[in-house]
Amino acid sequence: MNVNESAGKELLDQMDDTQKGKYLTFSLGEEIYGIEIKFVTEIVVVGMQSVTTVPDLPEYVQGIINLRGKIIPVIDVRLRFKKPPCDYNDRTCIVIVDIRGIAVGLIVDTVQEVLSIADQDMVPPPQLNSNTYHQRFIKAIGKVNNAVKLILDCDRLLSDDEIVSLEQTG
Amino acid sequence: MKKVLIVDDAQFMRLSLKTMLEKNGFHVAGEAENGILGIAKYIECAPDIVTMDITMPEMSGVEALKAIRKHDPKACVVMVSAMGQESLIKEAIINGAKYFIVKPFKEDQIVETLKKICQTKE
């Protein structure tokens, strides 16, 4: 049993190692965002999925989809970040993420690539006065060559902090 | 690998025994929850050793022991009993039980008991 356990642990460590520092990047308008690859379970094209609207939800929750028998809620990240909505096209994707056991689909303009960003290339987000709403969801900023990737804070994305934001604006 | 049949009305005891025995290289060929089923299972799977609880519904372990020994005089039956059942164990031994285990048993005790019994058999 001990042997198995340590072998399993090693494997997990390896997985962690291979996944560490890797990010899936996607675009929302002009900006490029990154999400830690360990959260991502699947990417589907939005056109393939019909999204069922569920009443009484915030606007950014588009509804639920049936992914091979699993019912998964989908969030329009544009709307979540209070950006102007944009019609879905054949490049619009749903990134399925699993954050601490909760599966959620993130609707993004388009998925770009998987990138490695070293820790030393990460900087904390600047505390600007002109704090735009969506910066609250940014955990760090990664620099790759001369481009900037905004790394998402997944926990924030799911927690319902609308109330907090209302307090801030009010 | 030695085949063991576990006869006990308590599912917990069966699981305990099975876990301990399988961990120590025995093959649990069958389980039964009372004496009658124990006999039937004995005939079905012809085990090398039977562990037989004494207090069971339908048919007690001692009765089942007698029946099994009648069917197969070479049957190797080990009684499983609690403290305070000395007289029943005696009855069982006189009626051909190979040995006995006292509940609550420890893994090393039961394994030693069954392994020694196997040696003596050979």
Partner: protein
């Protein structure tokens, strides 16, 4: 065993089995108490149950449970053995029920990972005292050696002729055997040594003597070892080998000795050689394979296995998915317009099998209400004792089966209702007699099937509900939502299920805390059930719970509003129809209503409630579905009906549930084409309809 990884399944099993045994035990006790006597079967059964619990608890090192069950086992051992005439059944029942409670508390601690630290010393000594008193008041008529196997003690000892009859060559030996500390029953272990030794030895003497008759010899063996003298023709090395194989032995010594004096050889009281045991068994009716056994073949033995509920839930899910994927295949758009005779034949066969599979999986999850009902007996017993009331419980239809998940949801409501009935419903004996009733009250708990529902009725013959008092209280709590004179009796009675409602002025131990009755409705509603109440002053109250047989699969009518599909549970639908313009009524407050056969019903536009875009906004373009819930009727307006089908209920994803605070949806389901349909919660929609 502690800290062992293999412990967990064993712990689960221990908890599961002990729970079951306690349940069984409680039933036996309560039944015995009613007849004020313990039958021989019951005594045997109780003995066996306590014996099993003791054994398992000792294995798991729960010494307090083991000790307590041992004490009870002793009492029943005595009862079984002596069948005493003078015994206090009630006292014994009390003791055992208290013990059951103690063990249950300990089990709960185990489950919750708390320290199992309950102290049963007081209970233990009460039980021991009880046994003492029992023994004193029932002196044994004859000296009795317990269950002693008298055949052993009466047996004659003699020396069998050595099979080899070569005693002249025999040498004499002396062996001392020491067993492992704590191996227990050393005397019997010693006996087995002798038993084996007799195959090749004779003139066997041993110390202590009387090992088979006297269990106190254990202690002597522990102290001084088991000393055997014998003669044998075998070489020392072989004998050494023989003793070396002794089970659970710490050490032994073996040496060759001088032959004993001839005179000693003649004295043979302790010499023992046993005959071949097989020969010795006297033939008896119970002997051998009993008649019953001949019917048993390995293939048709009825055996039960216990399965983890999570696995059953998963199985149910999978079958649900299979049903959906079957529809996906059979109704696949690619097949449209093709003539597929063989395919259709095969598909029909498959459909049949899948539907059978579905039924089977459902039936596996069904459990009888027996256990739940029987639990109520205990509650009634305890409450009656405390409140000094006398209440008989009648159970009807306790074997009615319901889905396991539902049973879990109705156990608490039933308990509340029963407590309430005894506490508030049933009067004291004096009051009852004054009212011309029997002194003892009666509660009937009845379950029956009714279509896809199970109805559970809790009826008491108590004082009935006091309308005036309920109204006062409702007024006080501001619960009245319409003029008092317009309230029907049922509406008044229903106030008792409102949160925080309690007519009882003082808080009692069992009920009347103001919480409870609203928990009943909440729990029952959560499984899609209804609570109905009826009462006649002075004669009693009947509360009925209408509960679906299963949660997982419902018959539903799928409807469309805009591009969203909804499923309405068939059980709630009264009718559906295309409305005529002339039937629609608009009141001055712009409430929309429809007149059907002279009755006026409110209309709820689903597209408006759920803010769905649709082109169908004119009533005559769409369809009206008249639904009912708890005697209330509502007309839903939708675009069109899509058809009726069985659907597998799935919960909405947790993320949605967390942020969605509104009522009106019971879950969702997957339709044949893979699209999602939202299942409507009619009760919730009605409540929202009021506030619109």
């Amino acid at each position: 065993m502690a800290g062992d990884h293999t412990l967990e399944p064993m712990l689960d099993m221990f908890l599961f089995e002990t729970d079951q045994l306690l349940e069984q035990l409680e039933q036996i006790i309560i039944h015995s108490e009613q007849s004020d006597t313990y039958s021989a079967t019951d005594i045997n059964e109780i003995f066996r149950i306590m014996h099993t619990i003791k054994g398992a608890a000792a294995m798991m090192l729960y010494d307090n449970i083991a000790a307590l069950s041992h004490a009870i086992e002793d009492v029943f051992f005595y009862l079984r053995d002596t069948n005493p005439e003078n015994m206090d059944c009630t006292k014994l029942s009390d003791l055992i029920l208290s013990s059951i409670d103690f063990i249950k508390t300990e089990l709960k601690k185990i489950r919750e990972g708390d320290r199992v630290d309950g102290d049963a010393a007081a209970l233990n000594s009460s039980i021991k005292n009880y046994l003492e008193i029992l023994k004193q008041s029932n002196p044994a008529p004859l000296e009795n050696s317990g269950t002693g196997v008298i055949s052993v003690t009466n047996q004659q000892y003699y020396i069998a002729q050595d099979k080899k009859a070569a005693s002249t060559q025999n040498k004499c030996f002396k062996a001392a055997v020491f067993f492992d500390a704590g191996c227990e029953m050393e005397n019997i272990r010693a006996y087995t040594v002798i038993h084996e030794l007799k195959d090749f030895a004779e003139d066997i003497h041993y110390i202590p003597e009387n090992i088979m008759e006297d269990d106190s010899t254990c202690e002597m063996i522990r102290q001084n070892g088991f000393v055997v003298r014998f003669s044998s023709d075998r070489p020392l090395a072989e004998l050494h080998d023989f003793f070396g194989k002794t089970i659970l032995m710490k050490e032994f010594q073996l040496e060759e000795t001088d032959p004993p004096a001839s005179g000693e050889k003649k004295a043979r009281p302790q010499q023992i050689v046993l005959e071949d045991p097989v020969v010795k068994i006297p033939p008896s009716p119970e002997e051998g394979l009993p008649a019953k056994n001949s019917e048993i073949h390995s293939s048709n033995q009825q055996s039960m296995i216990s399965v983890n509920v999570a696995k059953l839930d998963r199985l149910m899910d999978l079958v649900g998915e299979l049903v959906i994927s079957e529809a996906l295949v059979v109704q696949n758009p690619d097949l449209r317009g093709l003539t597929l005779d063989n395919f259709n034949k095969a598909a029909r066969q498959q459909e049949k099998i899948i539907s059978e599979l579905q039924d089977m999986v459902m039936s596996v999850r069904m459990l009888p209400l027996t256990t739940t009902f029987h639990k109520m007996q205990r509650i009634i017993r305890d409450m009656c004792k405390k409140l000094g009331k006398d209440v008989q419980l009648e159970l009807i239809g306790e074997t009615t089966e319901v889905d396991k998940n539902i049973i879990e949801h109705i156990s608490d409501p039933l308990m509340h209702l029963i407590r309430n009935a005894i506490d508030h419903g049933i009067e004291t004996a004096e009051e009852r007699e004054a009212a011309g009733k029997t002194a003892s009250g009666k509660i009937t708990l009845e379950a029956k099937n009714s279509g896809s529902d199970v109805i559970i009725l809790i009826t008491d013959d108590g004082r009935g509900l006091n309308k005036g008092k309920i109204l006062d209280r409702a007024r006080q709590k501001g619960l009245l939502h319409k003029p008092e004179n317009e309230l029907t009796d049922k509406e008044i009675y229903n106030f008792i299920f409102a949160p925080g409602f309690s007519t009882q002025d003082k808080v009692t131990e069992f009920s009347g805390r103001g919480v409870g009755m609203d928990v009943v409705t909440k729990n029952v509603n959560s499984v899609g059930g209804l609570v109905l109440i009826d009462s006649v002053a002075g004669e009693g109250t009947t509360i009925s719970l209408k509960i679906p047989l299963t949660l997982s699969i419902i018959d539903g009518m799928t409807i469309r509003v805009g591009n969203v599909r909804y499923t309405v549970p068939i059980t709630t639908i009264r009718e559906s129809f295309k409305p005529q313009a002339k039937e629609i009524i608009n009141d001055p407050d712009r409430n929309e209503m429809i007149m059907v056969r002279g009755q006026c019903y409110p209309i709820l536009r689903i597209h408006r409630l759920f803010k769905v875009t649709t082109s169908v906004t004119d009533f005559t373009d769409g369809i009206i579905i008249m639904v009912e819930n708890e005697d209330e009727v509502l007309c839903l307006f939708a675009d069109e009906l899509l058809g009726q089908q069985q659907v597998v209920v799935k919960a909405l994803p947790p993320y949605i549930k967390n942020i969605r605070q509104a009522e009106g949806l019971a879950g969702c389901t997957l339709l044949g084409d893979g699209s999602i349909s939202l299942i409507l919660d009619i009760g919730g929609m009605m409540r929202r309809g009021y506030s619109l």
